[in-house]
């Protein structure tokens, strides 16, 4: 079943067109990797899906369906609860580790203190961070290391009980060990969530994704099973890119 269906999606920043009639489906419980060189529209695609492009005064045409329902027919806060977004640089909000996790759930519903405690604990465990911060919940979140901050952001998104988790180069600033931890977390969570992973690291896409989409200058060049795309791509441009000949 398709979790997300994108039909003829174009996105414009004033005069510049960042996405050109993209159509693709995202299946439930898969990790879809999106690769492509700089300014190929990878981030714009994610920002279109959770309507974050609106704060940049961008416009879109085309259709995006979440569970066969147009995203514009879903209240925006519900849409963003169901589709989480993790940024390249971890966005740690002011305040403690606990407050960071509790922020999302508190926006969407009233919770008792005990329920919230449990939710925070579960989210941190699911984000593979609990063991490292269990005794530091009241510390300022900005004191965590870069890798911990990124896992905090993942845990914060998990605490909202989303359906789709989009990641925009989540490991770009991280060391190999932190990267491995985040990849392990994603593979564990795959059974309950759907992932869209934008990455500049083609090896990462090859390691953990089920299918891979190659974007180039705002166009979808190719979308296929990851193994197929990396071993025998149909398009020359894809081949060039994954072999590192450009981009």
């Amino acid at each position: 079943m398709n979790k997300l269906s994108i039909r003829e999606l174009s996105l414009y920043y004033e005069k510049h067109q960042a996405l050109k009639k993209i159509s693709l489906d995202v299946e439930s419980n898969e990790i879809l990797a999106v690769i492509g060189p700089a300014s190929s529209g990878k981030s714009s695609l994610l920002r279109a899906i959770n309507r974050l492009y609106e704060i940049d005064y961008a416009r879109i045409t085309g259709e995006i369906l979440l569970d066969d329902k147009n995203i514009f027919d879903i209240p925006i806060s519900e849409l963003r609860r169901r589709i989480g977004l993790i940024f390249a640089t971890p966005v740690v909000l002011p305040g403690s580790v606990y407050k960071n996790i509790a922020y999302g759930p508190k926006l969407h519903r009233r919770l008792k203190k005990s329920e919230l405690d449990e939710l925070v604990c579960d989210a941190l465990k699911a984000g593979n961070l609990w063991d490292e911060v269990a005794d530091r919940l009241d510390d300022s979140a900005s004191r965590l290391s870069g890798g911990q901050q990124q896992r905090l952001c993942i845990a914060r998104t998990l605490a909202m009980q989303p359906e789709v988790i989009m990641m925009d180069e989540p490991c770009s600033g991280l060391d190999p060990i932190s990267t491995a931890k985040i990849e392990a977390t994603m593979l564990e969570l795959k059974k309950d969530y759907t992932f869209i992973l934008v990455t500049n690291n083609t090896k990462q896409a090859a390691r953990i994704s089920d299918r891979t989409a190659f974007l180039y200058l705002g166009e979808l060049i190719e979308l296929d099973k990851t193994q197929k795309l990396f071993t025998s791509p149909a398009d020359m441009k894809t081949d060039d890119y994954i072999r590192g000949r450009f981009g």
Binding site: L52, I76, S77, E78, Y103
Partner: protein, 277 residues
């Protein structure tokens, strides 16, 4: 070579600024403090102010200054913060570019003009609606509150704009509305800048003299309500320094010293609040 000269010159200028400040401080304390000990602390912090006949009680003026300042903050903080939040988060860039200079211009209006507006409009208005003399804590608070608005608005606005864009995106991406983002993310993140703006505003309110003399009524007693007349430390100095001599003059400098200490004390409290995590 030229660098060396420029460096020495700048050093000299910087030091002369600091030097003149320390000289002023020294002068005020040197003139005022001896009187406090001569009169005795009991006399000094009493209610009887008759400086030509040995009564040096400044308590009612200290209370007056504090009441007027708190009143000014009660008016200035909510309006100032609301203005800054509106400008930074809820208005188009055209509105921002028009309103920001206008608000900053407000800071350039001489205080005597504010006092005049107070006498002509606010005082009669308070007299008719609430009764009493009209010249009151309330009138002074409102006028001072308006006078410190530009400081609070423009510094808080800059602090809000300085919050990284990623905070907004992160908050929106979690499904927060604009208002939730402002209250739960932006205000905490901009807190130190906002408190700095409030401190500066507070300094202006407690030090303001002309407007307060014109509309506060200047009666020498602790006000029983916000509709009563009030006299501040600064008003006393300005009103009496012209004819004061001897101990009376020293008593006014003592008022200045106390004012100085109050401002430093408030600043320390405010910085503590800012730094607390």
């Amino acid at each position: 070579m030229k660098d060396k000269i420029a460096e020495k010159l700048l050093l000299f200028i910087a030091f002369s600024a600091i030097l003149s400040l320390s000289l002023i401080t020294f002068f005020i304390f040197q003139q005022g403090i001896p009187l406090i000990f001569k009169a005795g602390l009991g006399n000094f912090f009493s209610l009887r102010w008759a400086p030509t006949r040995g009564g040096f009680g400044i308590l009612s003026m200290v209370v007056g200054s504090l009441m007027v300042t708190i009143g000014a903050l009660a008016v200035g903080i909510p309006f100032g913060l609301a203005g800054a939040i509106f400008l930074a988060e809820f208005s188009s860039s055209t509105i921002q570019k028009t309103l920001k200079p206008v608000i900053e211009l407000l800071a350039g209006i001489p205080s005597v003009v504010f006092g005049f507006i107070g006498i002509v409009i606010l005082v009669p208005f308070i007299r008719e609606i609430f009764g009493g003399p009209g010249f009151s804590v309330l009138a002074a608070s409102i006028i001072l509150g308006i006078m410190i608005l530009p400081t609070i608005v423009s510094i808080s606005y800059d602090a809000l704009l300085a919050v990284p864009k990623t905070y907004r995106e992160g908050s929106y991406a979690l499904g927060a509305t604009k208002w939730q983002t402002v209250v739960m993310v932006l205000l905490p993140a901009a807190r130190s800048g906002i408190v700095a703006g409030i401190i500066l505003g507070m300094g202006r309110a407690i030090g303001e003299t002309m407007a307060v003399i014109m509309i506060a009524g200047n009666a020498l007693k602790i006000p029983g309500s916000i509709l009563d007349s009030v006299r501040t430390l600064t008003s006393t100095i300005a009103l009496e320094l012209g004819y004061a001599a001897g101990d009376h003059r020293a008593a006014l400098f003592a008022c200045g010293s106390i004012l100085f200490l109050i401002i430093i004390f408030l600043n320390i409290i405010a910085t503590r609040i800012t730094n607390r995590k």
